[in-house]
Amino acid sequence: MTPRNKIYSTVDDAVADIPDGASIMFGGFGGAGFPNNLIQAVARQGAKNLRVISNNCGTGDGELGVLFKNRQIRSVVAAFPGPGAKYFQEQVDASEVELELVPQGILCERMRAYGAGIPAFYSPVGVETEIARGKEERAFRGKRYILEEALGADYALIKAYRADKLGNLVYRKAARNFNPIMATAAATTIVEVDEIVEAGGLDPETIVTPSVFVDRIVQAKGQRFV
């Protein structure tokens, strides 16, 4: 059996089928590891009412900023939208965008759970804080925990350093961040990479995201917002 062809020739082709109202995870943290070329393609493609899951919410026009600027986003799940998220802040203040704030470790653990087929888990984070509001609380061995639900999405748009043609991925330094977790938690995972190599061109011992989690690969080097 020959492997599926996952390689797309342009970022625009790779995101062409994203419909209005889709939920999308975007990798990246603190300026590193954002799929900026895919984000620009979503901006050109124009899907609206998007439900976004991302640690940050843009830096000016950069990163997710352009999607807020274009008013393509309806709701956000984030841990730290960020002081530079100008358009996001304006739209939250005007109640045009809904925000669910989630502690960062819980944000990624909810994704991990979803990708691992676990619907919910108990966590010590947020007990007696506003995060606990409306959540079931339970004690284990005398300690208090709250129930957190898994978090998945229709699409994950992620950034990796190199892919092989099957979709095995390696990352670079702190640009890894949320990307490998999001790859496991979406129905369709789309990755932009600096370089695509033949199958066998990556050392199996060093692969961070195995190919089973990756649906579409596009080579798109260059654009970066700092």
């Binding site: 943290f29 653990e109 804080t129 890894r176």
Partner: protein, 224 residues
């Protein structure tokens, strides 16, 4: 009225003395971030960053920045020999799972039972952000909070009960401010040291919570 208090740098320098040799350490924003500059020369600590770095080194020199290697504040950094990169999930396995020896966070309020409020001032503009603070506060083996002793309006930040949105309950072990070093104990807050030139009574007068103390409270020795 305006007796000198410790500077932010001096608070950080005092906090650095709490780090044991070989410790795995996470530093939060603000004063905590300054602690890295005051680690005593004869010890090595391994700094953790929640975006997936263990063994983070100093800021990158101008011209040598790698924007794939940034800390949690987006600043380009370096790594020391023996560093490791990993995902955000593994970074928080380390925080929440109790694998980090010492974490230092900033504070808006700390209560006498060690509750911490540090992520939002009620009524402040903007959506705010929790970031990794809740996971770090819950999981730190030892949590130090560094902050000014009083808010800009003079109100106490070491309080009986936090009135600001909570980060985590019963999580703080030690509070280091511009006026005092205070330990959170099962019996309440214990005043360990006071700023040079300040008496224990004067510090108590600027603190809402009760400070338990010995007859003589030593002065903070400010490291250079």
């Amino acid at each position: 009225m305006s007796k000198p208090r410790l500077t932010r740098e001096q608070i950080a320098a005092r906090a650095a003395l709490e780090l044991p040799d070989g410790a795995y350490v996470n530093l939060g924003w603000g004063i905590p971030n300054l602690v890295a500059g005051y680690v005593p020369r004869d010890i090595t600590v391994y700094f953790h960053s929640e975006n997936g770095i263990l063994g983070m080194g100093p800021r990158a020199k101008a011209g040598e920045e790698d924007f794939d290697l940034v800390d949690a504040m987006k600043v380009p950094v370096t790594v020391i020999p023996g560093a490791a990169f990993f995902s955000q999930v593994d970074a928080h396995v380390m925080t929440r799972g109790g694998h980090l020896d010492v974490c230092v966070l900033g504070g808006l309020q700390v209560s006498e039972r060690g509750d911490l409020a540090n992520w939002r001032v009620p009524g402040a503009k903007g959506a705010g952000g929790i970031g990794g603070a809740m996971d770090i506060a819950v999981g730190a083996r030892r949590l130090i909070v560094t902050m000014e002793h009083n808010a800009k309006d003079g109100s106490a930040k070491v309080v009986k009960r936090c009135t600001y949105p909570l980060t985590a309950i019963e999580c703080v072990n030690t509070i280091i401010t511009d006026l005092a070093v205070i330990d959170v104990t099962p019996q309440g807050l214990a005043l360990r040291e006071v700023a040079p030139g300040w008496t224990a009574d004067e510090v108590q007068g600027r603190t809402e919570a009760k400070l338990h103390r010995a007859d003589a409270v030593p002065s903070i020795k400010i490291p250079r």
